[in-house]
């Protein structure tokens, strides 16, 4: 037990491999049947908020994603937003997991389940280990795009006690129009949780300013958007705050 070869082989290799099998490999088997979805698969039907971004910031949108279909633009946005989310260390102050205890479910919705993490954007998963801000896994659609635009530019403007940093480099020179990073991070956050109707499940953190804003999942357009991104907006009440937002910025 004090010889190099024994220590190297038993402690160094064998115990490590054993632990990998118990804590890593066996849990892998339980989700073996799940397909790992690609970004393209998930981006086939962009959520309403993305169409709204396109309608609100057409020039910035065209500059950011070029002349491509909405699905391709959304895939690009998800990738860029995801990279930004990691690079800016958002995941060190926001978790992306709802635990079955500690009243997490009352605050953020039903507990997390394996299926929602089995995609390309969770390699590695962004569960996080610290919550200075709220959990984000079901955050999509709870605030409007306009809220996110103002919030990313300077969070204390929206919430005076917020300790979130401001991100002026998510914006063009004018400080009003989000650039590619800004559009993408908003698209990414708005996408989180879009796979499950949760807004009415939470009892606490539904922001009162969004009372008129219907749950995102109910507004999903019935068919792919046309190139103008206007499909489904006619009878959609979310257009109203958007126009107000335009006035506000001007």
């Amino acid at each position: 037990m004090e010889r190099f070869s024994f220590i190297f082989l038993v402690a160094g290799i064998l115990f490590f491999v054993l632990a990998f099998a118990v804590s890593g490999w066996i849990p892998m088997l339980t989700v073996q049947h799940l397909e790992v979805r690609t970004v393209e698969q998930m981006a086939e039907q962009p959520p309403l908020e993305f169409a709204e971004l396109k309608a609100d910031y057409p020039e910035a949108f065209a500059k950011a994603y070029g002349d491509v279909s909405d699905s391709q633009a959304f895939a690009d946005a998800l990738r860029t937003g995801h990279k930004t989310y990691i690079g800016e260390a958002c995941w060190h102050c926001h978790s992306q997991q709802i635990r079955p205890w500690g009243n997490d479910e009352a605050r953020y919705g039903r507990k997390s389940f394996p299926e929602e993490y089995h995609n390309e954007l969770n390699m590695p998963p962004l569960w996080g280990t610290r919550r200075i801000g709220p959990d984000l896994i079901r955050r999509g659609g709870k605030q409007s795009n306009d809220w996110h635009v103002a919030h990313f530019y300077n969070p204390p403007d929206v919430n005076p006690v917020s300790v979130m940093p401001s991100y002026p480099w998510f914006f063009e020179e004018d400080g009003l129009t989000p650039n590619k990073k800004g559009l993408s991070i908003i698209a990414y956050v708005q996408w989180l949780g879009s796979w499950i109707p949760t807004v009415d499940e939470t009892i606490y953190e539904v922001p009162f300013i969004e009372e008129t804003y219907p749950p995102a999942v109910l507004n999903r357009p019935s068919r792919p958007l046309d190139s103008e991104g206007t499909e489904g907006t006619d009878e959609n009440p979310t257009d109203t705050p958007t126009e107000d937002g335009d006035d506000f910025w001007e």
Binding site: E2, S23, P27, I86, A89, G102, H118, P156, V161
Partner: protein
């Protein structure tokens, strides 16, 4: 199992010294330099939580990126450099053999610090990887593996070749620690990034977070403690049997517990329970190491007054005992539902990484710097200031974060609005920033003293600790097992 014996002294006349003091010295300097950056990164990040970020509107100096730099420079910049210095000092003495190569030594020096520099720049540019404690950009990851392999070659060579039949306890930790570093890094940085997703990758992230601390920092730290404490106290370790229990307990239980970083996540409960049970088991086992330290120290209480290095090692061991005690409780689901996601965890991390392992490294630097420069410490009062400012700062920080974590956890459980939680946290965060300033001041005392000592030490240092061997060091003498 046999008692470690003094090594067979290999006295082949050679031009090259046994211990590469230049490499030791430069690794210490590099480590301390990275620590300086890391400490300021931590201080600045704490200012963001007080809504007082001093460098607004600069993307490369964004608070989030600074936070990544804080942890990465501590783990890889400071701890790893300091451990390499420690390895160059201890391994040749324990094996009686030189490390593989001087040129390889400088290559490792350049490679590791190049890796850290690339990580530093990459994180500033927003190139992080979503692996906690391993945010090193993906394009640097393969280089880290190469760096680890170079370390294997450098230090496994003397360990394998030594004529010692039974290795001293320090070398057990090193023998396993090097291979653990490589395996852990590959597991944590490549599997979740390229091979598995979501629920299959999550446990590996937990294993990586835990193993980087448990299977790299801890083995190096304990090996260091087992080497320097007997030398500083001038007596052998109290119990060889306990050190065996400590090592094999660590080796078996430590790798099993990574999942406890994600309790409550969608990872299957059997994996979560296994992590909880093995964590409680390892805390009982590692207590043996703490007992071993304090029983060795018993009878030499006066050294706390006379020897600054012993103070660092003593306080580090005390902090370690508290960490163990804390771990065994906080890992249970009862505690987890309160303290997970709160400042408690941040306080715990500071207590382990700074209060234990960094303190032991400070003890090593206090002990080695006069030997490396050939001058006695220039200022005794700076040494004391350094100790007290750092120690009180760390303890203030730990207590503040522990209390604020509990408050935050219970408020969160009771569905208090997040705004109210943030307002409640602010005074605690202010105290935390002040404790951080205290730590930085203590560290500044150490650095100033190091510089003054190196440049203008008035009294030549007489190396009593290694004196029987120092005269003949060029003649290749190992001190062997102490």
């Amino acid at each position: 199992m046999s008692e470690p014996q003094s090594s067979a002294l290999s006295t082949t006349a050679a031009e090259a010294p046994l211990v590469r003091r230049d490499l030791v010295k430069w690794h210490v300097i590099a480590g301390v330099s990275w620590l300086a950056i890391a400490l300021f990164a931590g201080l600045f990040y704490s200012l963001q939580l007080l809504q007082s970020w001093p460098l607004p509107k600069i993307a490369v100096l964004s608070p989030g990126r600074i936070r990544l730099i804080h942890t990465n420079l501590i783990a890889f910049g400071f701890l790893t450099n300091a451990f390499l210095a420690m390895l160059y000092w201890t391994v040749p003495r324990l094996t009686g053999l030189r490390v593989a190569s001087k040129k390889l030594g400088w290559l490792i020096y350049a490679a590791w610090n190049g890796i850290i520099l690339a990580t530093w720049v990459g994180l500033h540019l927003g190139e992080a990887q979503a692996v906690e404690w391993g945010e090193t950009p993906v394009w640097v990851d393969p280089l880290v593996v190469v760096g680890a392999i170079l370390v294997w070659i450098q230090f496994y060579t003397p360990i394998v070749k030594t004529k010692e039949k039974a290795l001293y306890v320090t070398l057990w930790y090193f023998s396993a620690g090097f291979v653990w570093l490589g395996l852990t890094y590959i597991m944590g940085n490549f599997f979740p990034e390229y091979l598995v997703a979501g629920n299959a990758a999550g446990p590996l992230l937990g294993l990586y977070i835990h193993d980087l601390v448990g299977l790299w920092v801890t083995p190096m730290g304990w090996g260091m403690m087992y080497f320097f404490v007997p030398i500083l106290l001038k007596k052998p370790i109290w119990s060889h049997a306990l050190s065996l229990v400590g090592f094999w307990g660590l080796a078996f239980f430590y790798p099993l517990q990574g999942v406890h970083h994600f309790l409550g996540s969608p990872i299957p409960m059997f994996a979560q329970y296994s992590a909880v049970v093995s964590t409680i088991a390892v805390e009982i086992v590692v207590t043996t190491v703490v007992i071993n330290f304090f029983m060795t120290w018993k009878g030499s209480e006066a050294t706390l007054k006379t020897s600054i290095p012993i103070r660092w090692f003593f306080l580090g061991a005390l902090n370690y005992a508290i960490t163990c005690f804390q771990c065994a409780f906080q890992v249970t689901l009862t505690f987890q539902q309160v303290i997970h996601f709160t400042d408690w965890v941040v306080g715990h991390a500071h207590l382990v990484m700074f209060g234990v392992f960094s303190f032991w490294i400070f003890g090593m630097i206090e002990h080695l710097w006069p030997k490396l420069t050939g001058h006695n410490w220039r200022s005794e009062s700076l040494r004391r200031w350094s100790f007290w400012l750092t120690a009180l700062g760390l303890w203030g920080m730990f207590l503040t974060l522990t209390v604020s974590g509990l408050i935050e956890g219970f408020m969160s459980m009771n569905l208090v609005p997040r705004e109210t939680i943030l307002q409640t946290m602010t005074p605690f965060w202010l105290v935390r920033t002040i404790t951080g300033i205290s730590i930085i001041s203590g560290f500044a005392c150490l650095v100033v003293n190091m510089v003054l000592t190196a440049r203008a030490g008035r009294i030549a240092h007489i190396d009593t600790d290694y004196s029987p061997y120092e005269d003949v060091e060029q003649g290749e003498v190992a001190i062997g097992a102490v």
